[in-house]
Amino acid sequence: MSHSLYAWLAIVGLTAVTVITRSAFLVLGERFPLPERVQHALRYAPACALSALIAPEVLTAGGALVLDPASPKLAAGLVAVAVMVISRSMIVTMAVGMGIFTLLRLL
């Protein structure tokens, strides 16, 4: 199989994966309706999923735990959380966070 054919087959299959996973319960929902209790629980899914995406990025490096407060990613991440809690401004949070990240990285 040529490299290009392989890449395109991968892409077509991945497109199917996107459609199937994202519309799974939209399509099956009537045959397998979810109880109200489960739907209530799903309210917490977004915050959990986003926290789970963020935490390894700031707390690990190459699969290992990094708890050094001087680590640029961890320090800037903690400051960003605090700035967001206080300011509720995404722009301010990003500016302060990137500033601290860059500063610590260059020191």
Binding site: L14, S23, L34
Partner: protein, 251 residues
């Protein structure tokens, strides 16, 4: 508009237009994060050796940042196709959970439209939509306003993602890794997440999810991410129940 409503005519076109615009406004603050992820993903596709045409095809068809980022090293290594597809499926499992949350809102649509609505669902779109409408009573779910607001959010998200991803593909070879672009995307995610943690159960769930994700960071196929979401939801629900009981005991 008020008049026709008085006479019982739903002013459908203007409701659609206004709801779509509401959706665009609701998603706007998140688009910086989306765009940054798109740029990072676009650059990454070129860096692993996809041709410009393949990378453009991938972003325009697959339209799934984290699944694409998970699949890229496997494609670069020439892994069997089923492994590439399985890895992407596991990374995308969270969307199966999301689709269950969205199902009550879209059940009146045809199969083709439900597939299309599913296809344009994003992490951020889902999170913003459900945090806004999760409290709606079952009989009020799936209104024209809700559906067109969802479409507005999806349109803004799609445009920001594709524009920046294509920019990343075109700039691919010129962007140095030291810019820390990937970290800017993380900061943007932090800014999105903080306002969602608006109750003690949500805080407990988010902390538990973060802990499990860190512990499971070494697991293959980003299974740690899936475990983290499941544990996080369970902890949030447990906390909610415990707080209810404490509240009853105090009374």
């Amino acid at each position: 508009m008020k008049r026709s409503a008085l006479f019982g005519h739903e002013p459908a076109a203007s409701v659609r237009r206004e709801s779509f615009a509401d959706g665009l406004r609701a998603v706007a603050p998140a688009l910086f994060a989306t765009g940054t992820w798109g740029l990072v993903t676009g650059v990454a596709m070129i860096k692993v050796g996809l041709s410009t045409a393949e990378a453009l095809g991938m972003t325009l068809l697959v339209f799934a940042g984290s699944a694409q980022l998970a699949a890229l090293p496997l494609i670069a290594a020439g892994a069997p196709l089923w492994v590439v597809w399985l890895a992407a499926t596991v990374v995308n499992l969270r969307f199966v959970i999301f689709s269950a949350g969205l199902a009550p809102f879209f059940k009146r649509f045809s199969l083709a439209r439900r597939l299309a609505l599913g296809y344009v669902t994003s992490d951020i779109g889902f999170a913003l939509f459900l945090s806004r409408f999760a409290g709606t009573p079952p009989e009020e779910r799936g209104s024209t306003h809700q559906v067109w607001l969802f479409l507005g959010m999806a349109a803004g998200n799609w445009l920001a993602w594709q524009t920046m991803s294509i920019l990343g593909i075109l700039l691919g070879h010129a962007v140095p890794g030291e810019w820390g672009l990937d970290y800017a995307a993380i900061l943007a995610l932090i800014a999105l997440t903080v306002p969602m943690i608006n109750s003690r159960p949500a805080l407990a769930g988010a902390l538990a999810a973060a802990a499990v994700a860190v512990l499971g960071a070494g697991l293959p196929l980003r299974l740690g991410l899936v475990a983290a979401v499941v544990v996080g939801i369970a902890v949030a629900m447990g906390t909610e129940l415990a707080l209810e009981r404490l509240g009853r005991a105090a009374r």
